[in-house]
Symmetry: C2
Subunit: 311 residues, 2 copies
Amino acid sequence: MSRVVCVTPNPAVDVTYRVGSLVPGASHRVSDPVERPGGKGVNVARVLHALGVPAVVVAPLGGPAGAGLAEALRAGGHAVRPVPVAAETRRTVTVVDDAGAATAFNEPGRALSADEWPAVVAAVTEELADAVALVVSGSLPAGAPDDLLPRLVAAARAAGVPAVADTSGPALLSVAGSGPALVKPNADELAEALPGDDGVSGAAGRLLALGARRVVVSLGADGLLGLGGSGGDGAVWRVAGVPGVSGNPTGAGDATVAALVRGLVAGTPWPEVLADAAALGAAAVLAAAAGEVDLAAYERFLPTLHAERVE
Amino acid sequence: MSRVVCVTPNPAVDVTYRVGSLVPGASHRVSDPVERPGGKGVNVARVLHALGVPAVVVAPLGGPAGAGLAEALRAGGHAVRPVPVAAETRRTVTVVDDAGAATAFNEPGRALSADEWPAVVAAVTEELADAVALVVSGSLPAGAPDDLLPRLVAAARAAGVPAVADTSGPALLSVAGSGPALVKPNADELAEALPGDDGVSGAAGRLLALGARRVVVSLGADGLLGLGGSGGDGAVWRVAGVPGVSGNPTGAGDATVAALVRGLVAGTPWPEVLADAAALGAAAVLAAAAGEVDLAAYERFLPTLHAERVE
């Protein structure tokens, strides 16, 4: 079964607590914790699964938290290829109050040992033998090799499948330089990695110049910008946001990535891929948790959105 | 080796995160988490260990968190008698900012199954065969049997050793009614369990009338009050606080309990026991974490404190 390989270099067990209100300096009795598998690549796989697109999560997983994460994914019907590592998988703790405000405490990913990253690359390479695409999403834990993402992109190229990367910081630049099919920063990540006064489309153009074949910049409520598909090298496409959508933006970028990879694999025309990605991202904002989408809203949003060429 | 049996009905893995400042509604990158065994009975055992008094922790422990808690206690040189239970042991998360303010999120203890509480009682009873005292500290998880603490006190009586209880709410009243050697509420817990206008010593006297043979009420920075030891039934003793002590009050009550049980076991005169307990409680405020005491401060404080008969 050909599937999308979703690599999550820095997975987490996402823990949610509910409180009446969060008072700094006070002691709170919280609700029973809700735990779910987290990490951006995990979220992409969940959205693909909801869309009926087979996916497998590849992630370094360690300790009881890592074992629990793999077990929870399998219990949810997801394929997972754990790469066993010594360090315990991290947690994130999100405290949600009665007004819906979310306060997050994100543990850093623990460093892997020198021989564990090659095991991750080997597992991804094996999975790519029977894959339709590679997605690499999220941050890298401290100590990850600088060339990790370029090596994964090279493995996808060797397997003849497109590679999509959603990351930030120096890793965004190094992965763009390795010639992936697509990179998807958000506007803040793009401005941080490539500061300058050439605007969003200018900075995105620099990612193209580095080597990415397509760039999609998610703009939150303002939709997204797409470069590098059909229309010639200089074409910049824009899809507006869906008006009046508010909710939980966490995971919207992951839903956008899921739509983009689905479109690339299917060979869908570029403007349609972009409109689809914007609709699915907006539908994710309406869902309760990252990695979920409101499919009914997606069906409503899709016919209202169109990519327009702006440059 | 005769030791103090420290029962912790509702243990926890205490997790501490450090942040620059806690901003409700924001996302925070936190330090590497520091995990340590928690729960009031665990803290009492740690203080006893620091004092050179052998102790064993008896606690229902479940899942990877429970296994990790037992392992961490053993690694610290503590004896532990885990009672295996199905439900995972809870966590507490404390977020400490750069100014030292601590914001705590305490998960509720998960309910034990019907046959697990009898296993706790059986384990305590076995440990009491070679014990010098019983301490039961902390809250009860939801679903704990109403007569749990009275049954533990009865087991101590059958073994011929004194029972000391530090709990709150209805459990404080039921354990006092079962005739323990000593109960130690703090002033807030006492006022909550026994509201009225007869003041701290009046309410403490009602715990004596219920059946407790001694009552010590910890008053935070104001020291403590002791009833029911030497001096006749109506005697109320008071030890003032140590002036100018500030720090981390969590665990001060547990250090007080450790000193009280040590004094009861040694047959130390009651006024000396009370002064010792106040000194050790104040020394715990100066220590970084619950279950620790500043032994040098304790040695300084001890000669400055004296119990005075106030009623």
